[in-house]
């Protein structure tokens, strides 16, 4: 479904389904007229768990860390890093790998590696 959505977005608008690119352009300055489309895509993303809950009658299960300073730090790193590197898991990882982009293959390798190292450090060196 993730891949299908990316393909349909290319068919409809001719754009890459990169969430960091879509979300990063929600705040000004606006360079093109695609704000409303991006806004729609984000609303769809946010509405997804609600749609599932309505369709199945069951709440979606998840476990999120409630360590607020940690989550703020993680959010800043994810936001800054994904836009600085021109893409995140969807833009580089799914769309970029699908197009065999060299930049995306490098980027995906780097963020997978630092994520593995971070989790190893947090869980096994500091101790979760």
């Amino acid at each position: 479904m993730i891949g299908l959505s990316a393909v349909l977005l290319m068919l409809w608008e001719g754009r890459i389904a990169g969430i960091s690119g879509i979300a990063g352009r929600l705040l000004p300055p606006y360079r093109d007229g695609a704000f409303l489309s991006r806004f729609g895509f984000v609303i769809g993303l946010i509405a997804a768990p609600l749609a599932i809950a309505v369709a199945t009658g069951e709440a979606v299960q998840q476990t999120v860390s409630s360590n607020i300073p940690l989550m703020i730090a993680a959010g800043l790193l994810v936001g800054f890093g994904s836009v600085w590197g021109n893409g995140c898991t969807s833009g580089h990882g799914v769309c970029g790998l699908s197009r065999l982009s060299v930049r995306s293959i490098v980027a995906t390798g780097v963020f997978m590696a630092t994520a593995f190292v971070t989790v190893f450090f947090v869980r096994h060196v500091i101790g979760g």
Binding site: I2, M10, A23
Partner: protein
């Protein structure tokens, strides 16, 4: 009209993220924990998405242009610069800490967990800062 189509595509993308478990940080961190409770299932989610997109892009890009708009907007850079190394490196650290990458974080906003409510505004702020900084640098270079 474009708004509604994009809303539907966002919904499809988000439902895919939720069903696959990508929007659950606990599952994502287990996927990233190679030396502990490694759960490889998300690798198949990403692999599946890549296979579908790989095939679908080939079909779509045989067209002259998308349904809306006059041309496809494709990134065409292939140079490896410091930014494409440093950005993902920083992103990966945050992903490992919080268990969220940008898409799942937005999707999880719909569930309203406290951690998500702290993560998403910080993420949007980080994105905005990176974008302003990148555009600033581009302008300095152009002068």
């Amino acid at each position: 009209m474009s708004f509604l189509v994009n809303l539907a595509l966002g919904l499809l993308f988000g439902i895919g993220l939720v069903i696959s478990g990508m929007a659950n940080p606990a599952k994502v961190v287990n996927f990233l924990d190679l030396f502990g409770t490694w759960d490889p299932s998300l690798a198949f989610v990403m692999g599946g998405a890549v296979i579908v997109a790989f095939t679908g892009y080939r079909l779509v890009l045989t067209r002259e242009r998308p349904i809306m708009g006059s041309s496809f907007h494709l990134p065409n850079r292939s140079d490896i610069d410091a930014q494409v190394i440093a950005g993902p490196a920083i992103f990966g650290i945050g992903w490992g800490l919080g268990g969220f990458c940008p898409g799942p974080a937005l999707t999880a906003l719909g569930l309203g967990a406290t951690g998500t409510l702290a993560f998403v505004p910080a993420m949007i702020l980080g994105m905005w800062a990176a974008r302003l900084l990148a555009e600033n640098r581009a302008q300095v270079r152009a002068v």
